[in-house]
Amino acid sequence: MQPKRNQPLLITWLFFLMCSNVAAQNFAVSAIPEKLLKSANSVVRQAALHVEINEKHVMEVSRTWTITVLNKSANGHLDTYEVYSNAEKITHFSAVVFDANGKEIKKFKKSDFQDISVVNQGTVFSDYRAQFLNYTPIRYPYTMQFKVVTRSINTAFIPSWNPISYYHQSLEHSHYFLQYPASWQLSTTEHQLEKYGVIKTEENGQYMLQLSAVPALINEYGSPDPEHFLPSAHCSLNHYSLQNVSGQADNWQQFGSWYYQHMLSGRELLPEQTLSEMKALEASFPDSVERDYQVYRYMQAKTRYVNVAIGIGGWKPLAVADVDRLSYGDCKALSFYTMALLEAAGLPATYTIVYAGKSMKSIDTTQVSVQGNHVIVSVPLPDTTIWLETTNPHLPFGYLGSFTDNRSVLSLREGKTYIDHTPAYNTAENLQSSSSIVSLDENGDLQANIRLRNMGSQFENRYNLERYRTEEKEDYYRKFWSHLNAVRFDSIQHTTDRKTAAFDENIALTAQAYGTISGSRMFIIPNVFNRLDNVPPRYPERKLPLQIKRGFTDIDTIHIQLPEGYVLEALPEETLLESPFGTYRTQLIQSNPNTLMFERYLQIRDGFHEASAYSQYQQFRREIARKDQTPFIINKP
C-alpha cells in the first residue's frame, strides 16, 4: 500500500506546532505546577528530540531542552555537553539563560562552548570529542535552554527517547519525533508508555511520542533498572549504515552475515608460528575443556587491554595478526583473537556481543540492529558452553562475573547467528565461607587466624587483593574490619584457583581491646569478622520495587578461646530470622568451660519484590545488623 502523502505532513506540522508553542512558553518558575515541585531539584520545562534519516543514510538530530534548576545539586541535570566525532558533527549549539521570572539574561553561541577530548586515559585512543558549556549560575532558581543539531553518517544507532533521566527531576513536556524513508521498516521497543499516558502517533515513515506532567522520583535503595519503571522508547530500522558501510537486515541471520562480512571476515588469519603453537596444544590436550583452558591462559599471558576506537575501529576489531604482533587490543580485538586461537586449536568459538555492566541489560531480541557495548567469547562444547572474558588477565577460566552474567547476548560465527544467554550466579553458588580461631586475653586483646573462601559472584569482590602491595592489603583489611583497634598483621596469604574460580584468604592478626571491659565483666561480639552492618535506608513512602539482583550465602564458624579466669555469664539463645528475602541464623555453642563456637549462616536470595515489601526487607536487614553486633558477656567471679 502506498503511504498517503498528507498524513506524514500532518504529523510534521503537529510537531512544529508543538515546538512553536514551546518557544512561547513561560519559563517563570511560578508557572511550574505545584505537584512538579515536590522532591524536585530540577524541572524539564520542555524537551524535544527530532531525528530525521534519509535514504542516503544521513541522520540529522535536532534536540532542544529547557531545564529549570531549583538548587545547586541539580546543576549537573543540565547536560551541557554533546559528544561528536569525525562521523558525527555538531552543526549548531546554543544556549539561553533565564532568571526565575523567565526573563532572558544571557545567550551563548557555538563558539562559547569548550572543546575537549572525551577520553583521557592511557589505554584509550579515540577520535571522540565533546563540546560543553561551563556556566556559573548567579542565583537559584534559574532556567537554561539548549539547542543542538548534529549530522551523522551513522544510522545504525538512532537516539533513544528517555524523557526522565535523573532522580529529583520532574517533567513538564517531552516530545520525540522520528522521520525515516517510508519504505523502510521501523522496529520499536517501548517501556512503560501506557503507565505514563504517553501519546503515540505513528505513520509510515514517522513515529512520534509526547509526554506531559511527570512528578520527580527519588532514588531508592535497591530499585530495579529504569526500564522497569520509567518510560522510554528505542528505535531501529532495517536499513542502516555504519561508517559508510550500509546494510539491510530483517532478521538476525541476515544481520549476522552482514556483520560477519563487513566487520570480521578476512581478518582472522593467525601467523604461522602461533598457528603451530595452537596445533601443538591440540595435540597435547585431547580433553576439550583442558585445551580451552590452555588457550585462554595463553591469550591472557600474551595480551593486554588497550582500546583503539578511531573511525571504523570503534566497530571492527583489529586483525588477528595485528593483535598477535602488538599483544594488545580492545574487547573486540582480543575476543576475535581468542576465537582464532581456539579455532586453530580445534575448538570452534563464537563472537558474542553483549551489554556489559552490573545491570544485566539484555540484547533487545526484537530489534535486529547493532547493539551491545562489549564482546566476549563463548565456546560451545558437547555438554557445556564455556564463556570467556578476554580483557582481564586476572580472571579465572570461564568466569564472567557481574560484568556480563545472566543476560541475553548475540552470538556470531561464520554462517551462524543466534541469541544466547550467559549463565547466572545463583544464591547458593555465591558463597563466602570462613573458619577462624580467635583467642582473647584478660585485657580483651585478640589474636586470630582467619581462613576465608570466596566463590561465585563473591569471588570478584576480593580477588584483586592478591595483587595489592603489602601496605595496601593491610589498609584494606584495617578498613574492612574497621571495628578492630590497632590491628597488626602477622601474615596475609592469598590464593586464586583459576579453574574453579575460588579466592582464598588466610590471615593471622592481633587487635587491641576487642573485648570491652566494664568492671568485672567483659563484652565480646562473637561475630568478629563478618558483620553486615550497613542497613538500607528507610522511606516513609516507598515508590519503586525492590530488586535483589544477585543473592549470596555466607557461612562463618569461629572458635573463641576465653581469657583465663572468666566464665560465661549466660549463653545467648540461638537466633533465627526468616523472611521472604533470606535467612539469618546464629548459634553460640559452649564446647568446654573456656571455648565457645559461634556459627553464622546468612543467605540473601535474589528476587523481585513489590514496593510494599520494602519496609519488611529494611527491617530484616536492620535486625541482622543488630544481631551481628550483639555481644555475649563473660564475668570474672
Binding site: 548567579i138 589498609d475 528507610r538
Partner: protein
C-alpha cells in the same frame, strides 16, 4: 681560544665521567630481561631502570629566537601484569612543538634470545588536550610481564617561561635518573627542587655556543638579538646535571593534602632574559619584584585601587559603622552577591566590569573586589598571595609567578589579624576554606613590600551537645537533644545541611546514618544569614542502645554520639597529619533510668592529653539516684601533627574509642 676549548671539552668529559651513566639506546642487558622482581622493592609492578632528559636551547633563525629542545631516553622494566600500564606512553607537548625523533622498542626474552619489537609509526596517535597542549600517545607492542621498553625522543618546542617539571620519583622505583639542563647565558632561571629531598649529585659546568646567522633586520619581540654585521655570535651555555640513583617508589598516605608535595621534582622558571648589551626582560626574581609586577598590573593592583562608582552606596553604608564592624559588612556583601566560577587565579579573569554585571568571577575577581572595598572603607588591608593545596606548598626561597594561584585578604584591626576569602558561600568572616590553608602566604603591603607569613589556621569551631533522655521499660531511649554548632563548625553544618537539600533531605540522611534513630521532631535556627551559631533541636527515640541478658542490662553511655572507630589505622606514618580546623566538642548527656533498675557498675572517668598540648579529652559517667550523667569533652588545639607524634596520636584515639565503648551495667531489681 683553542686552549680554552680544550679545557672546556675536558671539563665536559670530566662531567660525563663523574655523573652521566652512559646507557645506549637499544642495548638491553640480558639480566634486565631475566629479572622477575625488583632487587630492592620486590612488590614493584614495574621500574624505571634508566631515564635521561636533556633540555637545551637551539637558536632558530626563522623565529630569530631560541627553541627548546628536549631529548629523552627512558627504559622501563615490567615485572608483572599490573605493570603493563607503564607500557602506555603519553608525551604532552606544546601545540606548536614537533618531534624530530620518536623511537620505541619492546624487548622480550624468547627461548633465551633477546627479541626486539618496534613501535610502528602507524600505531602512534596524536591528540589535542586543550588549546595549548597536545599529546603523543602509543601503546607499546608485544609487552608481557618481563618485558623491557626502551623509548627515545627529541622534541622541539617554543621557549616558554617555565620548563615542564622533571620528576625524579614515581609510584614505581627509579634506578637511575639524570636531568641535564643547558641554558644560554642570556637566560637566567630560578631553580627549585620540590618534594622529599633526594640524595642527588649535582654538577655545574659550561660550554660555548654559536649563533651562526644572527643577522636579522626584523627585530621583533623579546627575541631580538642584537644585529651584528658579523655572522657569528658566540655565547656561553650553563650546563647543570642532576643525577639520582635508586629512588624508592612514592607511596600514598591518607590525610595528606597533596602527595605531589612529597614527590621529588626539579623545576626551572625563567627569571630574566638579557642579550649582550641589550635590554633586560624581567620575568621574576624576588617576591618584591613579583609584587611590583602584580601591583602595576591591570589584572591585580589596578583592580585594588579601581574606582567603582556603582558600589558607592555600599561603601557609604559601611562607613557609618564602627571600623571593626565594616569587615563583616563588606565581606558578606561580596560573599553573598558574587559567585565563584570554580576557577583559581590570583589575578582577575572576567575583570571588574564583568564581575559587577554578571556577578560571576574567579578567585582573583572576587577577592580583589573584596580588598578594593575594604580599602575604600579605610581598613588596613593587604592581599595575601597563596598556593592552594592542589598546587603544592609554596617554595618561599624560589620566588616565581607560577607558584602562586590564589589570593585572599588580610586585615589588621585593633591589634588583630583577620583573613578573608569571599569565594565560599557558607564560610563566616574570618575563616578559610581548606584549599587556601597551605602553610605559607605572601603579603604585599602598601609600599609594595612583601612579607612571608605563616598562615595560622583560623578555623576554630565548637560543638556542644545537651541531651536529656530516659530509658524506657522496653529498653528504648527517648528524649530531646540540643546541638549547638559555633564558628567553623557552624559553617560545616550549614554545608552539610544544604548539600542534603533542605530539612527532609537532612533528616533522612541523619536517619540513614543511624538506622536505630527515629526522629519525632527536628528544628534548626541560624541556617540562613550570617549568624555564627546554628542550633539544632531534636526529639528522638532510639533503639538498640541497651541489651538485656538475665538480670542485667547493658547501656551505651554515648548513645548515637559514640565514636566507634578512628581513622588512624596504619601502624606507621611518614608524613604529617593535617586537620582543617581546631576546636572543642562538649557533650552532656543525662539518662533517666526506670524505677526497677539500679546501677551495678559505671565506666571509670578518664582524662588524657596528647604531647605538647596538641589536644585532650575528658570522659566521665556519674550516677545520682536514678539519673546518669555522661560528660565528654574533646579538644584539638593543633591543626597539624608531626609523624613523630603519630604513635601517640594513634594510641590516644584508640583509648578514646575504647573508653566510649565501655558500658553502663544495670541490675534489675
Amino acid at each position: 681560544m683553542k686552549k680554552n676549548l680544550v679545557i672546556l671539552l675536558s671539563l665536559l668529559l670530566a662531567t660525563q665521567v663523574l655523573l652521566a651513566q652512559k646507557v645506549k639506546f637499544r642495548k638491553i642487558a640480558k639480566e634486565d630481561l631475566e629479572a622477575t622482581v625488583h632487587p630492592t622493592d620486590p612488590e614493584a609492578e614495574a621500574a624505571i631502570l634508566y631515564q635521561s632528559c636533556r633540555r637545551h636551547y637551539v637558536f632558530n633563525t626563522a623565529d630569530n629566537f631560541f627553541k627548546l629542545q628536549t631529548q629523552v631516553h627512558q627504559r622501563i622494566k615490567i615485572y608483572n601484569q599490573d605493570g603493563l600500564s607503564w607500557a602506555d606512553i603519553g608525551i604532552p607537548f606544546h601545540i606548536e612543538g614537533s618531534f624530530s625523533k620518536l623511537r620505541a622498542y619492546t624487548y622480550n626474552l624468547k627461548d633465551g634470545k633477546i627479541e626486539e619489537i618496534k613501535l610502528e609509526n602507524q600505531d602512534i596517535f596524536t591528540e589535542d588536550i586543550n588549546k595549548y597542549v597536545k599529546r603523543r600517545k602509543a601503546a607499546m607492542p608485544g609487552v608481557v610481564p618481563g618485558s623491557v621498553i626502551d623509548i627515545e625522543y627529541e622534541l622541539s618546542e617554543p621557549a616558554t617561561i617555565s620548563l615542564r617539571p622533571f620528576y625524579m620519583q614515581y609510584s614505581i622505583p627509579v634506578d637511575y635518573s639524570e636531568y641535564i639542563v643547558e641554558t644560554p647565558e642570556y637566560f637566567r632561571f630560578n631553580k627549585a627542587m620540590k618534594g622529599i629531598p633526594l640524595k642527588m649529585d649535582i654538577e655545574n659546568s659550561s660550554k660555548s655556543g654559536v649563533i651562526s646567522q644572527g643577522v636579522s633586520s626584523n627585530n621583533r619581540s623579546i627575541g631580538a638579538v642584537q644585529s651584528h654585521s658579523s655572522n657569528n655570535i658566540n655565547y656561553s651555555i650553563n650546563v647543570e646535571t642532576y643525577v639520582a640513583k635508586n629512588v624508592p617508589a612514592l607511596k600514598e598516605e591518607p590525610f595528606v593534602t597533596n602527595m605531589d608535595n612529597y614527590r621529588s621534582s626539579i623545576n626551572y622558571e625563567l627569571s630574566f632574559i638579557q642579550f649582550q648589551g641589550g635590554r633586560m626582560y624581567n620575568y621574576s626574581t624576588t617576591w618584591d619584584d613579583i609584587a611590583d609586577n602584580l601591583m602595576a598590573s591591570e589584572f591585580f593592583g589596578q583592580v585594588i585601587d579601581r574606582r567603582l562608582g556603582e558600589l558607592n552606596p555600599i561603601v557609604e553604608e559601611a562607613m557609618a559603622l564602627d571600623l571593626e564592624e565594616r569587615i563583616p559588612f563588606i565581606y558578606y556583601y561580596v560573599r553573598d552577591t558574587y559567585n565563584w566560577n570554580d576557577y583559581y587565579g590570583e589575578q582577575t579573569m572576567e575583570g571588574m566590569r564583568k564581575l559587577l554585571s554578571q556577578k560571576t568571577g574567579n578567585v582573583g575577581d572576587i577577592n580583589l573586589l573584596l580588598i578594593n572595598l575594604l580599602k575604600k572603607v579605610e581598613l588596613d588591608v593587604m592581599p595575601v598571595l597563596l598556593s592552594t593545596r592542589s598546587n603544592g606548598i609554596l617554595n618561599i626561597s624560589h620566588p616565581s609567578f607560577t607558584q602562586i594561584n590564589y589570593v585572599i585578604a588580610q586585615v589588621n584591626v585593633n591589634g588583630k589579624t583577620i583573613y578573608l576569602d569571599a569565594t565560599d558561600k557558607d564560610l563566616l568572616a574570618g575563616y578559610l576554606p581548606p584549599r587556601a590553608l597551605n602553610i605559607d602566604g605572601i603579603t604585599i603591603d602598601s609600599k609594595r613590600k612583601t612579607n612571608r607569613i605563616d598562615i595560622v589556621n583560623p578555623n576554630n569551631g565548637n560543638t556542644t551537645v545537651f541531651a536529656i533522655t530516659s530509658l524506657t521499660d522496653d529498653l528504648k531511649i527517648e528524649g530531646q537533644a540540643r546541638l549547638m554548632y559555633e564558628n567553623f563548625d557552624a559553617s560545616m553544618f550549614k554545608i552539610k545541611y544544604k548539600s542534603a537539600e533542605r530539612k527532609e533531605g537532612y533528616t533522612k540522611s541523619l536517619m540513614d546514618t543511624y538506622p536505630d534513630l527515629e526522629i519525632a521532631e527536628i528544628a534548626h535556627e541560624g541556617i540562613e544569614g550570617h549568624a555564627k551559631k546554628v542550633t539544632e533541636n531534636i526529639s528522638f527515640e532510639l533503639e538498640g542502645m541497651a541489651i538485656e541478658t538475665g538480670e542485667f542490662i547493658y547501656l551505651n553511655p554515648m548513645l548515637i554520639w559514640q565514636d566507634t572507630e578512628h581513622q588512624f589505622k596504619r601502624e606507621k606514618r611518614e608524613f604529617p597529619v593535617f586537620y582543617n580546623s581546631t576546636g572543642n566538642e562538649k557533650y552532656m548527656i543525662t539518662i533517666k533510668l526506670p524505677e526497677n533498675v539500679e546501677v551495678e557498675s559505671l565506666p571509670q572517668a578518664v582524662r588524657l592529653a596528647l604531647p605538647e598540648n596538641m589536644g585532650n579529652f575528658l570522659y566521665s559517667v556519674t550516677a545520682m539516684g536514678n539519673n546518669i550523667t555522661v560528660q565528654y569533652q574533646y579538644s584539638r588545639t593543633a591543626d597539624m601533627i608531626s609523624p613523630l607524634y603519630y604513635d601517640a596520636l594513634r594510641n590516644y584515639m584508640t583509648l578514646l574509642v575504647d573508653k566510649q565503648a565501655e558500658k553502663i551495667v544495670l541490675k534489675k531489681i
